[in-house]
């Protein structure tokens, strides 16, 4: 299964399990979504549960808020990362705050699926990584899978979770590789990071598409005799603090990797948390390997922008083991 297929399977499973689950988005019905994540679901569940919306991101997320008030469980697809910006007010002023605004009484059991990130040679504003915006806004949980198995188990968790979840889908991984599984994976616990590769000399914390670059970098470094542990955050907010700290206490070195711009990114929060809680464990300064604080470039330059495995490996070599 590719990630697209496993996401589709997760939506299918939850729609079968719970008839309150409805899908909303642009081109998700007849077309099955521009990435085909919702393929065939319209046929299976009908137009009252798979709703092709007008081109109206704010209206769609706002509608989802109203659906939650009526007891439905909306799963919104925002077509591309940057298309979330017109819906920002609905996400942060309403979806994130409605439980609080009702004295804790009403659940905003909603998922906003957000295909994000670069590497697919897309036009402007189709390659952004805005996850930190949502991590910073109280009331939202932000998660991001890095492989088809996690995509399935995490999306099923997100749909069942009683609070709103921004579900970041690394679109570069949608069809990058396949996972074979005989039985579908268990539903995720909603917070735990994964140790994707064990190692003893340094901890690399990453998520989403950058996980693949980080794991490839760990392979390269192994050839140099450097053993790198790679932690896949999965939950970007809240952070699995004990997994991160446990790893840093074993390896004594921390590197964070993401494609999003550096300043105030998820990596900055990871670094700050380690500085607060495991400062004495560190044997060298922390390193952030990230996208630049610039707009995502025109796509002929995107490989220069996205941290590559070679870059990650060479920075780790130089900065931590020179």
């Amino acid at each position: 299964m590719t990630m697209v297929e496993s996401l589709n399977a997760a939506l299918d499973a939850e729609m079968t399990a719970d008839d309150r689950v409805v899908l909303l988005g642009e081109d998700i019905g007849t077309t099955g979504g521009v990435f085909r994540v919702t393929a065939d679901l319209l046929k299976r569940y009908g137009s009252l549960r798979v709703i092709d919306m007008p081109v109206s991101e704010a209206g769609t997320v706002g509608m989802a808020v109203g659906m939650c008030l009526a007891g439905l469980v909306p799963v919104v697809e925002i077509q591309f990362d940057s298309f979330a910006y017109p819906a920002f007010q609905q996400l942060v002023s309403h979806l994130a705050r409605y439980r609080w605004r009702t004295g804790g009484s009403v659940s905003m059991q909603a998922v906003v699926r957000l295909p994000f990130g670069g590497g697919i040679r897309a036009p402007e504003l189709h390659s952004d990584s805005p996850e930190a915006l949502f991590c910073h806004m109280p009331g939202l949980k932000v998660v991001c899978p890095s492989n088809p198995l996690d995509a399935y188990s995490m999306l099923r968790w997100a749909i069942r979770h009683p609070d709103p979840v921004v579900f970041m889908e690394p679109k570069r991984l949608y069809r990058l590789n396949r996972a074979w599984f005989n039985t579908m994976p268990e539903i995720w616990d909603g917070w735990s990071a994964a140790i994707a590769r064990q190692g003893s000399d340094a901890t690399v914390v990453s998520y989403g598409a950058s996980m693949h670059e980080s794991l490839a970098a760990a392979e390269l470094l192994e050839q140099d005799g450097i053993s790198v542990e790679v932690v896949d955050l999965r939950s970007l907010w809240p952070l699995d603090k004990s997994a991160i700290i446990g790893s840093v206490q074993r390896t004594h070195r921390l590197v964070v990797v993401h494609e999003a711009p550096r300043s105030c990114g998820v990596g900055a929060e990871v670094v700050a948390m380690v500085a607060e809680q495991a400062f004495e464990s560190l044997r060298s300064p922390v390193v952030r390997i990230t996208g630049l604080d610039t707009p995502f470039p025109m796509f002929s330059l995107e490989k220069e922008y996205i941290p590559s495995s070679e870059l990650i490996a060479s920075i780790i070599r130089k900065a931590l083991f020179k």
Binding site: A58, G59, G66, L69, P74, Q89, R99, W100, S105, P138
Partner: protein, 335 residues
């Protein structure tokens, strides 16, 4: 009824009983006046008054039934007391008190929306969900003339039209958005003209006439209930008071203008006609107003006795489970 007597409960509205509508307006006016007094006395903070909009609110509320939901703005902050939210709890919102926040399912009323227009799509989502669930409930969504300039108003009206959501969009055109007159909001001759662009029926009514509002809303609610989709009602009125207690209208509009509209305010006009038609006597009117006033004074005393929130409230209500927000208040560092 003597002057120390208070009401046992908020007035019930019946669109066919004009005296009940008058009572509802007296209730809201008295609520509003008491709130302004509380603000002047320092017992609550900044308050958004709605003087002049009682007929719009009461006429609209009378046209819906209890299973229909309201989606108010801060300008309709008192309307939920006509569905049973205790008065002191409504005012405590303006004391910055988290205990003011209520479960909307209890009153069929969404929390007052502070951002303009973005709550309209919530009404669409709620109403559409009720409709596809086999219920014939209707959403009544309030918004102002200023809110029509927001992109979110367009999105909600458009989506509602496409999806035939049973929503009545009630545009309360009080002619002023803080200091900005409606002529600076739109080049449209009247706000109701916008309905055409969404393919939905529109009506413009005298927002100072509670009967006219109730009748127009009644038609719109029926259309929605019968599966004929949303409507756009423009209730033309005037914001007699300031935008809020912190605002000074003398900076941007003339007192002549204010006097002109104040002389047409909805309650006195309604009262005169009820007395003329023999539906209400002068002494009955006086006694009722006194009883409402006493009710409000009693509630204001209860407001002062409401417990003040402590620090433990900071973590409450954000998530279903609070285990994740230990860091939110700095508690981890302090302990």
């Amino acid at each position: 009824m003597n002057s120390t007597e208070q009401l046992l409960s908020y007035p019930r509205l019946d669109p066919l009983d004009p005296v009940s509508l008058w009572r509802g307006m007296v209730w809201l006016r008295s609520y509003d006046e008491r709130a302004v007094a509380l603000q002047r006395q320092g017992r609550i903070g900044t308050y958004a008054t709605f003087w002049g909009e009682e007929a719009v609110q009461v006429g609209a509320l009378s046209a819906i039934r209890h299973s229909d939901w309201m989606f108010p703005t801060y300008r309709e902050n008192g309307i939920v007391t006509l569905r049973g939210l205790p008065l002191e709890r409504a005012w405590s919102y303006f004391r910055g008190d988290p205990g003011a926040l209520f479960d909307p399912r209890e009153y069929g009323c969404a929390p007052q929306s502070v951002p303009l227009a973005s709550h309209l799509s919530h009404a669409v989502g709620w109403a559409w969900s009720r409709m596809v669930g086999g219920h014939d409930d209707v959403a009544l969504a309030f918004f102002g003339d200023g809110a029509t300039s927001e992109g979110e108003a367009h999105e909600a009206l458009n989506v509602a039209g496409v999806m035939k959501a049973p929503v009545v969009f009630l545009c309360v055109n009080n002619q002023w958005a803080i200091s900005t007159p409606v002529s600076r909001q739109t080049a449209a001759k009247q706000l109701v003209d916008k309905a055409i662009g969404y393919g939905i029926p529109g009506e413009r009514v005298d927002g100072f006439d509670v009967i006219e509002v109730a009748e127009s809303l009644g038609r719109a609610v029926e259309r929605a209930r019968n599966g004929n989709g949303p409507s756009f009602i423009e209730a033309f009125c005037y914001r007699i008071g300031p935008h809020a207690t912190a605002d000074d209208p003398s900076l941007y509009r003339s007192s002549v203008d204010e006097e002109h509209w104040r002389s047409m305010e909805p309650i006195g006009r309604m009262e005169e006609s009820l007395i003329r038609e023999g539906l209400l006597s002068y002494s009955q009117a006086k006694a009722y107003k006194e009883a409402v006033r006493t009710t409000m004074l009693e509630a204001a005393r209860r407001l002062d006795r409401l417990p003040r929130p402590d620090r433990s409230w900071l973590g409450k209500g954000t998530f279903a489970s609070e285990v994740f927000i230990g860091g939110l208040t700095g508690e981890e560092v302090l302990s």
